[in-house]
Symmetry: C4
Subunit: 206 residues, 4 copies
């Protein structure tokens, strides 16, 4: 089976997950101090930005992985579904983090939940790389040498959230700081995505 | 008419239905025991997982069916719309099941509603196979022998929900258990989708 | 400019509009008579069904029109945006109709709003046909003779809602009946969409 | 990397952002004067219309830019993500503007927020043009002379919102008037999008 329709579902889930985040932005009703009420909800904007960036960067990385895939089977589709489940769930820990980020003892729970979902998302992405690494026939020949680098990058990217989970018990703010740092690190990183196939031989364009 | 644009609408409805499920996940406000309040809402997570899996698997199966379709007409589009109506409705019984799954006598209603929507969804998918079976000219030649197997698989997959509906009157928990079992059975099943056309001759790629 | 990307936006708006309807389905909280509370909200289900069908049929008809379009310009894109605005707004009159359909005097307002949006949607679709009719160079040659029939069909389909608006002042129920009749008439109609280009020469597939 | 999949994500985000605007339309509950209650919420409809138009026109302009792009890299994807973040956020200032547009002193905040988001969206679109202008190898040869015009058009279109922000402190109504004027100016403008590549040589169609 060709990968084309998988792209449609994947792009749809990413686009919707990214866009549903907007429903969590604050809308104070009947406010007599609108500017003040909006500004004091700053954790909502920070959470929006970090989640949008994280999901967006992940879309780029996933896009890079898929550009090397020439064929998929049912097992690979199922792994992709598990990954998409975690992508689609992102607005949920984001809205909880936005509300509880600066609420004392409950912030630990929110930070663990947020980093926990991110950890699972990262690992399920790494499992996609791993499956391809074990089934190189699904990948265009010249991208195969990059599969292990892709798996490592995804695994390390995911495991950083273990640090965020641990930190949450000491300082939720530091935990969210790690989440943000991951997003900005990947956003600013100069490294091209491993396995990303250049124009001339791209599967979609062939 | 070629099937290409039908893919766009179908993938969109599937992606949105899967992603809207997130709106039903619990968000306790002003909680002083966030971890506890989140954990006691476990039926929400179970319902999310089962619905996401069911819709995701159905997308794979529908994808398999469509990969063999080379042409569509208005009648087939209308059957597909009926199927998409039932896919798009899934977040509704899911949210009701999540709230009422462990609420004594009301759980029966929730379980009947959930399994009833799943039953209709399965049967409307089977009707798509049946239409193709009666109009084999819409299907690429080498996939035609598999049409009856596809129809049977979809029909049996749907009819299991009759058992879930019946069980709901005895034990709603057992009824939801059947719903979950269907999702995991198809997720773990090794059988490739009948009619799924292999890479070389796929319609989309030609 | 080719019409390909317009398909992506159009299919997205249709898919989302159809799927957002689910947010209006009733979810009684803390109900002690769930079955009863769900059943007495039957206008919600009727409204859901009629709106989903109407938008779905319109997608088929619009798809038929677009399958004959080989090129678009900025004017045509803008007309399509006006049409999509009305498609995307459908969940709004639907939710109001669902709440007020059987609430005495307010039902007239709900029925006028519902049929009014449908009227505008139908007319804006007819304007798309009309633009193509006046610019036949945008349409593949053998579909040009069908343009006038398409415009008439869309115009008549839209104008029926004038009857629904008028009836709303006498009997809101009769007005909603007309809305439903339009949906079912087009759903069951045997006529292929005018201008629908058959497989061999379809623009998308070429 | 080819631009094809970027189209899928972009169209998805635009379609969802445009369609989520519907969630902000007024739905008075248990109203005894439905027509009156709906009519007095007129700023909601105005905000809906202006936001939908603005995002729709921007989609046309972005579509025009992308039709000239033959290749993308990670830097360009990241700029596009920043642009999509601002597109996806539009329903938020729209809903706040709809509630506070005619509420005395709070209207200034709402008008600044609305025009501020629009300003950032316009500038991030201009940055996309600017990146292409500095990397003409990503653009098909015959569209390169138009890149500077595109960047100027996007920059000027964005900077008008500085006027709207300033005006908000004097008259929020005038500020919203400027927002509306920008939307209608671009909607009615006869100028084709700079860089828009005509059918024969379009990247998508090749």
């Amino acid at each position: 089976m060709g990968p084309n329709r998988l792209h449609g579902l994947t792009d749809g889930v990413f686009a919707i997950s990214m866009t549903l985040l907007v429903l969590n932005l604050p809308h104070p009703h009947d406010s007599a101090h609108l500017a003040h009420d909006l500004l004091q909800r700053w954790p909502s904007y920070a959470a929006y930005l970090v989640s949008f960036l994280t999901v967006g960067i992940l879309w780029i990385e996933h896009h890079g992985m898929m550009s090397a895939v020439q064929q998929v089977n049912r097992r690979f589709l199922e792994r992709t579904l598990a990954f998409l489940l975690l992508v689609s769930i992102i607005p949920w820990p984001t809205s909880i983090a936005a509300e509880y980020a600066n609420r004392g003892s409950q912030a630990t729970t929110a930070a663990v939940l947020y980093a926990g979902v991110m950890l699972l998302m990262g690992l399920s992405f790494a499992m996609g790389w791993r499956y391809l690494s074990g089934h190189p026939q699904f990948v265009v020949a010249r991208a195969r040498p990059a599969l292990d680098a892709g798996m490592r990058r995804a695994t390390y990217g995911g495991l950083v959230y273990l640090l965020a989970i641990t930190l949450a018990f000491v300082s939720p703010a530091a935990s969210f700081g790690v989440d943000a740092a991951v997003a900005f690190y990947f956003a600013l990183s100069r490294a091209e995505v491993p396995g990303l196939v250049a124009q001339g031989g791209e599967v979609e364009a062939s």
